[in-house]
Every structure is written in C-alpha cells, then in structure tokens.
C-alpha cells in the first residue's frame, strides 16, 4: 500500500520531467537575421581599407579555422597581433580545429549558430553547407569598393558557395594540384616534366626498373576525400565531368573510365607502393619528404614543406621541383584548384569587427608582404590567391616560381560543384576509388558509385 503511494508520488515528478524533456527535445528555432551592411559602421578608411579611428577598439573576435601549422596561416596569425590589432584595436583568437574534424565542425557551427565564433573559414566544396550560416558580403564589398576581379576563375566561383551572383566568402588561401619531382632523379634519367599522363606513366615505368625509391607516392586511402584530388584533375582534363548539365552523374563516360583506369594503373602496375592503397595525403607526402619517392602529386602549398630543411631530408629540400599536372594528348589541362574562403557568421554579435578582419586578412597587400617575408622558415610561403601576386616577379623570385605555376594551373583550373549532398557524394567516390586500388573492377565500381550517387541526389541520403 505504502509502496503504491510512493510509486504514485514518484511517478508525478518523473512524468513532469519526461514531459519537459520531450518538450525541450522537440523544440528548435531559427536565429534572427540581420544584413551585414546594416551592422557595419561606415566611415573613413586607411590604405588597407580598414576603418580609421579604431571604432572597434577592445573588441575580441574568434575565428574558426583549421591547420594553423600551415606556413601561410602561421604567418597570418603572427601578423594579426603585430599589424591588424595594432591598427584596429581588435583582438583575434584563432580557434584551430584539426582537418579531420574541421569540416564537420564548421558546418555544424554555421548551421547551429552558437555565437561562439565570429568568422569561419571553409574549403570550397563545403560552401553550400556553410552558406546557411554566413552573411552575404556583396553589400559591404560594394560599399568598400571591393571586387573579386583579382582572383582566378575557380576561386571566384568558390566565393559564391553555389549561389551564383552572391558572395559569401573571400579567398584567403588557395592552391592547385601539381606534380613534384626530384630534379636529381629526372636529370639522371634524362626526363623533362611530362606533358601528358601517358608520358608520365612511361617515366614511372622506367623509374620502377631502376630507381631504389617508389616512382610515385600515391594516395588511394579513405580520408576526407583526399584520394579524389588526382582523379578529379585527370577526369576534368580528359573532358570528363562529375555531372552533366542536367545534373546527371557523368563520370561513367568513356573519358571518365579512361581517366580512372589510368589513375588506378599507377598502383596496379606497382609505380605507387601497395601500401598506398591505404595512404592519405599525409603518408604520401611524408614518403616524399623522407626520400622514399621520386615523384608525388599534391598541392602547390606543399612546396613550403618540401623546401623546409627542418622538415625534409636535405637531398629532398635541395632537389624538389614542381610542375603543372600532366594532361591528355590534344586536350587542355585542368587542375583541381582548392580554395579556403573566410566569411562572417550570421550568429556573431561582433560582425563589424569581423568584417574589418576579413578585409585585412584577404587583402592583396597583406598576402604579398607574407609571400615576400622569408625571415621565419616555418612561416615562409609562396601561396597566393590574388592574380596580381601570382604574377608579381618579386614574389615569384623568392618563391621558386610557384605563384606563376599556380596561376597557370588555375587559369584553366576547376573547383568541385557545390552541392549540399557533396559529403555523401565524396564518400561514395572515395570508397569506390579505394576499392579499385584494392583490385575491384574499375567499370563496375564506377557504375555502382554512379547508381548510389543518383539515389543520393534523388532522396538526399
């Protein structure tokens, strides 16, 4: 009797608590939205376009970003305190998230808008997911007299985040896929940087016979879509596409199959070590840095690392050279151009200060000063996103011609089509490539991936 009484007594608060939990669990609201131009204070500006008179003095803002070990980001972060804060009085905290979890973090932050961060950086492919939470910049850019004219075509496209006509982010870092080779090895074998994939595979074949190293350090493993980078460049430069104009999967075309077979041939014929079936970019570039490989296909920014004697073997630092990715006979080359964009979060309560920082960090003058400064090896970088800097003779002279090489590659470069389904699509292709590297049939894997992507596009899952 008494137990029954207690149970009844206990059940009431429990039921109330459960109801409260259910109610709370089912609730969710959209944050109130303001246009950036409405919250940014207008007024006179200095030579870098920053507001004079320090109207945001004492404001502290947070930037959600990844990979602050990259030379360019290190340099930007370093100069933020010594230059930007000095000019504006705005303090900027760089919240660094490792790349493996970065993409999830930025999309979640953009969507949920916790207000923890004021600025966010993202890579092009995730524009469609991120733009939900960032402010369009067109109004404030127009007011500041800023345009995207000084950026190469792929970066301009990425700035729209898949919403043509609207700018959501400004490029702050960008690079093209390229071929790195050992000059000493190429001289010994009498090679020149290859013009075509067939020529390149011919070189790899010769290297396999006589070189003690891996002819190429490939990357076919699963890891944030990194095994797509070479494949995309080979696909596009062969005239293939991920999707046709109607949005249908198009990589199963004869050009797509040919590009994929050539890509997989590099590991099947033993040019790339068997272990590379499970390698990501990290392992592939480490193999090159440790002197275990003759060539590697990777981003132009890797030049910063490959030439840093503190990071690589001396013979690598001395002999590393970069060239454009090969193409296909009679066809225009098309490298994958990746860019990091930075935007102002809608949920930020310090959007004015955040916009000031975005103007400074994306400014061509800031970028040029960093590219010319070689006083700190860990911050030395030749990566530039402004065309004016890529073609600047002085910038090229101190950076081994990498900016000009990047300009050439990006002139016909491409970016990934921006789609909210990209994470699923990327995962599907990444798994397919990984399976092919382990021996699965190229055509059937491509067909199977295409069918799965079609389903993803139709159902969103």
């Amino acid at each position: 009797m008494k137990r029954g009484f207690l149970r009844r007594r206990a059940s009431r608060p429990a039921a109330a608590a459960l109801a409260a939990v259910l109610l709370a669990a089912g609730c969710g609201t959209d944050a109130e939205r303001h246009e950036l131009a409405d919250v940014v204070r207008a007024g006179p500006v200095d030579d870098l376009g920053l507001r004079t008179g320090k109207p945001y003095d004492g404001t502290k803002i947070r930037l959600l970003i990844c990979c602050n070990t990259a030379a360019q980001f290190l340099a930007m972060q370093d100069r933020t305190g010594t230059e930007f804060t000095k000019r504006t009085g705005i303090e900027v905290e760089w919240a660094n998230i490792p790349y493996e979890s970065f993409l999830q973090k930025i999309v979640a932050e953009s969507a949920l808008g916790t207000g923890t961060y004021d600025l966010v950086a993202w890579t092009d492919a995730f524009g469609a997911s991120v733009r939900l939470g960032v402010q369009p910049l067109d109004g404030v850019m127009e007011r500041a007299g800023m345009t995207l004219e000084d950026y190469p075509p792929p970066f301009r496209e990425a700035a729209t985040a898949g919403d043509p006509g609207t700018t959501y982010g400004l490029p702050v870092r960008g690079y093209a896929y390229s071929l790195y080779y050992r000059q000493d090895v190429y001289e010994k074998f009498g090679f020149e940087p290859p013009e075509t994939w067939n020529e390149y595979l011919g070189q790899l074949d010769e290297l396999k016979e006589s070189s003690p190293r891996h002819p190429i350090a490939g990357q076919y493993g699963r890891g944030s879509g990194q095994n797509l980078f070479t494949w995309l460049s080979m696909l596009w430069s062969n005239g293939g596409e991920l999707f046709d104009e109607d949005g249908n999967v198009a990589f199963t075309s004869p050009q797509g199959v040919q590009a994929t077979e050539k890509y997989i041939e590099m590991i099947r014929k033993g040019y790339s070590p068997p272990a590379s079936a499970n390698w990501t970019e990290t392992e592939a570039t480490q193999s090159m840095e440790q002197g275990h490989a003759d060539t590697v296909l990777t981003w132009t920014w890797q030049y910063d690392d490959f030439t840093n004697p503190e990071k690589v073997k001396p013979e690598v630092a001395e002999n590393i050279r970069a060239a454009q990715l090969p193409g296909w006979e009679g066809k225009e080359r098309a490298s994958y151009g990746m860019t990091w964009l930075m935007g102002v979060l809608r949920s930020s309560e310090k959007q004015g200060a955040a916009w000031e920082y975005l103007k400074w960090v994306s400014n061509a003058k800031t970028e040029r000063a960093i590219a010319l400064d070689k006083s700190k090896p860990e911050q030395a970088t030749g990566i530039t996103v402004h065309t004016s800097n890529m073609l600047d003779p002085e910038v090229n002279e101190v950076n081994g011609g990498i900016p000009k090489l990047q300009y050439e590659a990006l002139r016909t470069g491409r970016v990934i089509p921006t789609s909210i389904n990209w994470p699923q699509i990327q995962d599907t292709i990444e798994v397919a490539i990984n399976k092919m590297a382990h021996g699965a049939d190229v055509r059937s894997e491509l067909r199977s991936a295409a069918a799965r992507i079609k389903k993803i596009e139709e159902t969103g899952g």
């Binding site: 009484f5 207690l6 007594r9 206990a10 608060p13 608590a17 459960l18 939990v21 259910l22 709370a24 669990a25 089912g26 969710g28 609201t29 959209d30 944050a31 493996e100 979890s101 993409l103 999830q104 999309v107 979640a108 969507a111 949920l112 808008g113 469609a128 997911s129 939900l132 939470g133 493993g221 699963r222 890891g223 070590p273 068997p274 272990a275 079936a277 499970n278 990501t280 392992e283 193999s287 275990h292 909210i420 994470p423 699923q424 995962d427 798994v431 990984n434 399976k435 590297a437 382990h438 699965a440 969103g460 899952g461």
Partner: protein
C-alpha cells in the same frame, strides 16, 4: 527541545503526543519524510536527466523528424518511421551491422579466451607475478585515439615496426598489406582491442580465481584429476557466472567500437571496417543528416540495451549467489 518520544514518533511516522493523527502538521512531516530520499537523489538524477535521458529522448524525437543540418538550422517535419525504414533498406547500413557483429564475436572470443589463459598462468605464484599483474592494466589505460594512431603507424608496410617484426618472424607475410586488405584490416582492429582488453579481463578473472576454494582443487588433485580436468570440472564451473558478466561487458564495448576505426582504418578498405557506431557518426557529423543518424543511433541503443539488460541480470544472479 525534542523529546526522545517525539523523535521516535517522527521516526515511525506517527503523530506526536497531544496532536491528533492526520492533522496538518503530521501530514506535512510525513510528506517531507517521503520526499527526503528523492531530495537526496535529486542532484544525481538531475545530472543523469541532463546528460543521458535528455540526449536519448531528444535523439528519439529527432529520429522521427527530417533534419539535415546543411538544409535547416531547426528540425523539420515528422516523417514517422521513414528513417528507420531507410536504414533497413540501405546496404551500407547492413554492411556496418555485419562488420560490427563479426568484430564483436571475434574480439569477445579472443579477449576473453586470452584473458582467461593469462589469468590461469598468473594465478600461480612466481617471483614476478605481482609486477606482471600491475603492468597488466597499462594497455587498457592507453587512450583509444593514441592506441589507434600508434597501431596505424606500426602496421604500415613501408616503415611500421610491427610489420617489420612480423616479416622477420613470418617471412611469408612480408607482402601482406595489413591495413589495405579487408580481412587483415578487420583483424588489426581486433588485435588492438584484444591488446587492450585481454589484460584487463585477466585481472578481473584473477579476482574470480582467488575466490575459488583451494580445498576443492586440492580434493580433485587428491582424487587424481589432471590439470585440464581440474580446470574443466572445478575452476571453469565456478568462474562461469563471472565469465558471463565479462562476456556481456566486452560485447557492449565491442558493439560500440569507434575510436580505432577513425584513427586506424577510416572505415576502409572500401567499407570493410565501417562499424555501426562509425556509420551513425558519418551520417550525423559528415553527412549532417541528423534525423537519420538519430534513427541509426537508436537502433544501436536498443541492441546495447538488450545486452546491458543481460549484463544486469547476470550481475544480479552473481550477487544473489
């Protein structure tokens, strides 16, 4: 000043002398007394409510709603059981279920089997037994992420120290790409798990072995039983309830394997090491399909709930004995 009689009365719930039973003050005291246990439990209950019940209920509600984080900042409309149906129609979901079951079976058998063997060996007193027992806890104490990255590095066929050691002892395995072949990648995951768990299980079973009466074993020995017969007919039956608990516990942990998948294989090669937990994580935090990820998570919660119930029943039986 409260008299002893009044104290007794209060303690028994009866009205103190001079006041009629059922008066307002008496009822208030009874209610306060009835509420007291709940007040003491309130902080712990609040913590459990906030950190466990709320997320679980929230995920359950979300599992019936469409919500892709890159489409909307708030959950969408209710879609009933659609997302559960989707899971059971998705071949990658079934793949992750099969991978999880395979991993759970093999890792439980090996962890418990090796743990038991270690416990039996260490149950004999030797000069280094004490030190060995102390060292046994170390593999389990290693952070799963650190364990994963270390194993990935050490099993690398190009420069991994474990790979080189295996190649030296078993030259025929020189060409094996440990993380590149589905079977071996799964086995590496199992190995990392057994490496961490078998010593812990050995420690747990050593406690059980200590409670096996020495005279029973001695009597069996006097009766002419061999070592195997003593284990088979004396030790093992007495250890069985504890073994059951250990099996349930290990199975629960194996079913939710996640860290090593992320750090060692990334789910590959292909989808050969995508466990259910990793699958749910990918759906939620890579594809940002929170509704579907919640549904998948709840399927895992139900499976773990069944095992946890079995574990609790086994525990209660053990305590009753």
């Amino acid at each position: 000043m409260v008299t002893a009689t009044a104290e007794r009365s209060a303690a028994s719930g009866a009205a103190p002398a001079g006041r009629p039973p059922g008066s307002g003050a008496g009822r208030g005291r009874r209610m306060r007394r009835a509420a007291q246990p709940y007040l003491h439990l309130a902080p712990a209950l609040a913590a459990v409510l906030l950190t466990t019940v709320y997320p679980l209920v929230s995920a359950l509600v979300t599992s019936f709603r469409h919500w892709r984080l890159n489409e909307s900042t708030a959950p969408g409309g209710f879609v009933g059981l659609e997302q559960y149906q989707r899971a059971f129609q998705d071949d990658t979901f079934f793949n992750s279920v099969m991978v999880t079951l395979w991993f759970t079976f093999v890792s439980v058998v090996l962890s418990v089997g090796i743990g038991l063997a270690m416990a039996l060996v260490l149950n004999r007193r030797g000069p280094l037994t004490g030190l060995t027992k102390a060292l046994l806890i170390l593999p389990f104490a290693v952070a799963p992420a650190l364990k994963g990255f270390s194993w990935r590095f050490m099993m690398n066929p190009d420069h991994g120290v474990y790979d080189k050691m295996i190649d030296a002892v078993f030259p025929f395995a020189a060409d094996v790409n440990w993380l590149g072949e589905p079977f071996w990648a799964q086995m590496v995951l199992v190995l990392t798990e057994v490496w961490g768990w078998a010593p812990l299980i050995a420690l747990m079973l050593l406690g059980g072995l200590a409670s096996v009466p020495g005279e029973v074993n001695e009597a069996a020995r006097v009766d002419g039983c061999s070592a195997w017969q003593r284990f088979r007919y004396v030790t093992f039956p007495l250890l069985r309830p504890l073994l059951l608990i250990v099996v349930f516990l290990k199975a629960v942990f194996s079913l939710k394997l996640f860290d090593q998948v992320v750090t060692i294989t990334g789910g590959g090669p292909g989808r050969a090491t995508e466990t259910l937990n990793y699958y749910a994580y990918t759906q939620g935090f890579t594809f940002l399909d929170i509704g579907y990820a919640s549904a998948v998570s709840w399927i895992l919660v139900v499976a773990l709930g069944v095992l946890a119930t079995g574990y609790l029943i086994a525990m209660n039986r053990q305590e009753a004995k």
